[in-house]
Subunit: 68 residues, 2 copies
């Protein structure tokens, strides 16, 4: 199990936190550990679905990158 | 018919615009003219329901005041 933290641009309020959480919930193979304004941390079991996570967040209007 | 513009604190993104619009839609006696980040303009027919508007926005977490 690996922990992945994303830096996320464009989040500004609690609605954004909820939108990011919903987007992450749509990605298979991860468990959400934490979502805050500007970042999210997930746990992965298999290969980290980084591109799927970035695509799901991009669809909601947020630009994300892995920070660790 | 009167036009009322509110200054609204706490709005930061498109989700907030949507939340404010939904809150205003719940107030009887007004028609929404415009909602932007930081302000909203409504048209009223009868007596202006200023307190109802402020209460509806407050429930969503936004502090509003009439500016004109």
């Amino acid at each position: 199990m690996a922990t992945l933290t994303f830096s996320i641009l464009g989040m500004s309020c609690g609605h954004c936190v909820a939108a990011v959480r919903r987007a992450l919930e749509s990605v298979p193979g991860i468990t959400i550990h934490d979502v805050q304004i500007g970042s999210a941390t997930v746990e992965t079991i298999g290969p980290a679905p980084v591109d799927s996570i970035k695509a799901a967040l991009s669809e909601e209007g947020y630009e994300a990158d892995v920070v660790r």
